[in-house]
């Protein structure tokens, strides 16, 4: 197949998967819409859908629709942690390591960065940098557990990383409710972060500050480039991808499979931790999470949408953040529960990952390309006075 057709096919296929998911969503919205009779329900569902699809860009009020920068900035800000978890999952899944620890990883990263922001005074410029790096390193060290167990003993990294998610959550909850809690407050939270540790908005105006669109966004984009270069332009990145494609072949061609298995998970942990740390210092004044944030699961969807290619991660993250914002708006203005996002996410995920989805169409395209090639060759050989292949 020609490259142009390949890209066209991928786009059509992705578009259809999203369309199916939106159809399912529409059906669910219709069912959950308030109103008596089909007509009223239709109207309510239409309103809800409008909020879902164009709400993240436009404010719809009595005096018409108007573009709103604040909502778009919200969407961009929401991409910060999920770009990191998306990259983290990309690296781990590329090596065929189904480590699902990005979820706990981003919580642990947020916790470590938050604690450094509370207890370790430093100069303004380096404080957030040190805190975020420490967060990354802490999670990388924790990810050594499933990674080494997998590499040395063949224990399933999937089960171990899932168990670690729970363990991380409970231990953080324990520390937060006992030793590190700010007992003067009604809810469970840490003492406030030092001013020096906070990550500021890119532009200091009301829109960017309100949306918490911080420098973390720029860092996330830089991380995308670095990870892409690492995966496609370095020896280690090549080994990670090769082991994902064919582990035995990589082993017999002399790659250190165990080391790469560990490396991919440690790197994935580092990225998840950095993402959690940046999110915490950019968005919150104190640490107050009491449950897993869900960034890890979104990260998995993003990695699948991006086909494990780091360069497409921001696009996929934008898409997910846009949908999620749309669902939030729908919950606020149309009364449809925001958890609809989980169902949409699941359906898109299923169709995107389905190899046979539209395989027949793909087959047709391949045949068409081959026939065209044959025709061209025949025409060429006729010109030169040769025989014709039929």
């Amino acid at each position: 197949m020609t490259k142009r057709r390949e890209i066209g096919f991928t786009l059509i296929r992705g578009f259809l998967a999203i369309l199916i998911a939106l159809l399912v969503a529409t059906l669910l919205i219709f069912i959950s819409a308030e109103g008596d009779g089909i007509g009223e329900k239709m109207e309510a569902a239409g309103e809800a859908l409008k909020q879902l699809l164009i709400g993240p860009l436009f404010r719809m009020g009595k005096n018409g629709t108007s573009f709103e920068l604040k909502r778009l900035a919200d969407v961009f800000a929401a991409m910060i942690p999920t770009i990191f978890t998306g990259l983290s999952v990309c690296v781990m899944f590329s090596a065929n390591q189904f480590n699902l620890g990005s979820e706990g990883g981003s919580m642990l990263g947020a916790f470590v960065a938050g604690m450094i922001a509370v207890y370790v005074p430093m100069a303004a410029g380096i404080h957030p940098v040190v805190a975020v790096l420490a967060a990354g390193v802490a999670v990388a060290v924790v990810m050594l557990i499933p990674a080494v167990l997998k590499a040395k003993m063949g224990v399933s990294e999937m089960v171990n990383s899932l168990m670690l998610n729970y363990i991380i959550m409970y231990i953080i909850k324990y520390l937060m409710s006992t030793h590190l809690a700010d007992k003067s407050k009604g809810q469970i939270q840490s003492f406030p972060f030092m001013e020096t540790a906070k990550i500021g908005p890119i532009v200091d105006n009301s829109v960017f500050t309100g949306a918490k669109l911080t420098w973390g966004f720029v860092v996330a984009l830089i991380a995308v480039v670095i990870v892409a270069v690492f995966m496609y332009r370095t020896r280690w990145g090549y080994s990670i991808r090769m082991i994902g494609i064919n582990q035995s072949f990589s082993m017999y061609s002399g790659m250190k499979v165990g080391a790469v298995v560990v490396l991919s998970q440690v790197l994935g942990g580092f990225l998840a931790g950095v993402g959690g740390g940046i999110e915490m210092l950019g968005r919150y004044p104190t640490f107050s999470w009491s449950a897993l944030p869900g960034y890890g699961w979104t990260g998995i969807t993003i990695a699948i949408l991006a086909g494990n290619n780091p360069l497409y991660v921001p696009l996929a993250a934008f898409f997910m953040a846009y949908l999620s914002k749309g669902c939030d708006l729908m919950a606020t203005y149309a009364g449809v529960p925001a958890q609809l996002i989980d169902i949409i996410q699941g359906v898109i995920f299923l169709f995107f990952a389905a190899e046979q989805f539209m395989a027949r169409y793909r087959q047709k395209l391949v045949v068409k390309t081959a026939q065209e090639e044959l025709q061209r060759k025949n025409a060429q050989s006729l010109e030169e006075g040769g025989a014709v292949n039929v």
Binding site: Y166, S177, D342, F349, A354
Partner: protein
């Protein structure tokens, strides 16, 4: 310390181990059968969530636990068949199908609960705990005669119907796998699908059956969670039991008896955690105990398996050497 031990040696404690193990046993059976058919279903967690919700809702609306249980089973089987469709026919990686189901099982059940019942607790949460009363739960059963035996009677009698069923199903599943032609086919498909298909076994059909079976078991597990373990469904109530079951399956070496024993180990760990928090340990420190035990258990299992393998290989090498010398 001795005080604590004497607290553990009560019939209530052993009773609670059996009760806590039951959903893990169901989930482990679900994991065992698909593993025998040659693949891994990590969506058990999500299947249990959906079954738990539908079970509690239907039992409320129908006014009877029986219909609730039936609904939980039907939903479990249907969802698992959908998973099978994506995995076998659409060629989605089965791990990814499982992740998708788990994703939907967490937030999606909350969405459905809110939409169907119109109940909201605060702004974000919802649950069906207010709807389910004691008579809508699956009943407990007192075994006559046995309940008169001191200690043992208190441990064994008075359990939920599904708790007994869990242990019974261990036996039945084992018989199904090793004494019936269906079981033989399932194992054959898992061992070597090409060989199975060459003797006329429909690999696809067997895989669907295995998947449906795991959905059925997840349905029992889900129903137990929302209609016996707790009264009513609440968000993320399955709390990783579907994942622990994957570990129990591995530790039990893929056999029903082993899986049951490792489920009991996890049940013990959790019951111990509950006791710890009863004597004043922070519940946030007690709650991760079963998860930590899972990791440790997997490691111990892997070490012993690797050692066995090494022994087997070295003894095979020795034999070879001996035979070549002779």
């Amino acid at each position: 310390m001795s005080n604590f031990v004497s607290m553990l040696l009560t019939p209530e404690f052993f009773f609670s181990i059996l009760r806590i193990s039951a959903p893990i046993i169901f989930a482990t059976l679900a994991a065992i059968v698909v593993e025998k058919a040659g693949f891994c279903n990590i969506g058990i967690e999500g299947l249990m969530m959906f079954s738990a919700l539908s079970g509690s809702l239907v039992s409320y609306y129908a006014g009877s636990w029986f219909w609730g249980l039936l609904a939980a089973l039907v939903v479990g089987v249907l969802m698992s068949l959908i998973m099978g469709f994506f995995a076998f026919q659409m060629k989605t990686d089965i791990v990814l199908v499982g992740i998708a189901i788990n994703m939907m099982g967490s937030g999606g059940t909350l969405f459905l609960c809110k939409v169907i019942t119109n109940i909201t607790e605060g702004r974000a949460m919802a649950s069906t705990t207010g709807l389910i009363t004691k008579d809508l739960c699956i009943p407990d059963i007192t075994i006559p005669l046995v309940n008169k035996i001191p200690f043992v009677g208190q441990v064994l009698s008075g359990h939920n119907l599904l708790t007994y069923l869990a242990f019974l199903l261990c036996l039945l599943t084992s018989i199904m796998l090793y004494k019936t032609s269906l079981g033989l086919n399932i194992r054959a498909v898992g061992e070597n699908p090409n060989a199975a298909s060459s003797v006329g076994v429909s690999v696809l059909k067997i895989k669907y059956i295995a998947m449906g079976f795991s959905g059925l078991m997840s349905g029992f597990g889900g129903a137990f969670m929302s209609m016996a373990y707790a009264q009513g469904w609440s968000l993320d109530m399955v709390a990783g039991r579907g994942f622990i079951a994957l570990a129990a399956q591995a530790m039990g070496n893929g056999e029903c008896l082993g899986g049951m024993l490792s489920s009991l180990v996890f049940g013990f760990a959790q019951a111990l955690g509950i006791k710890f928090s009863a004597i004043g340990l922070d519940s946030n420190l007690a709650s991760p105990i079963p998860y930590a035990v899972t990791i440790i258990g997997l490691v111990i299992f892997a070490v012993s398996r690797n050692r066995k393998e090494l022994k087997k290989r070295s003894s095979a090498a020795l034999e070879k050497k001996a035979s070549s010398q002779a």
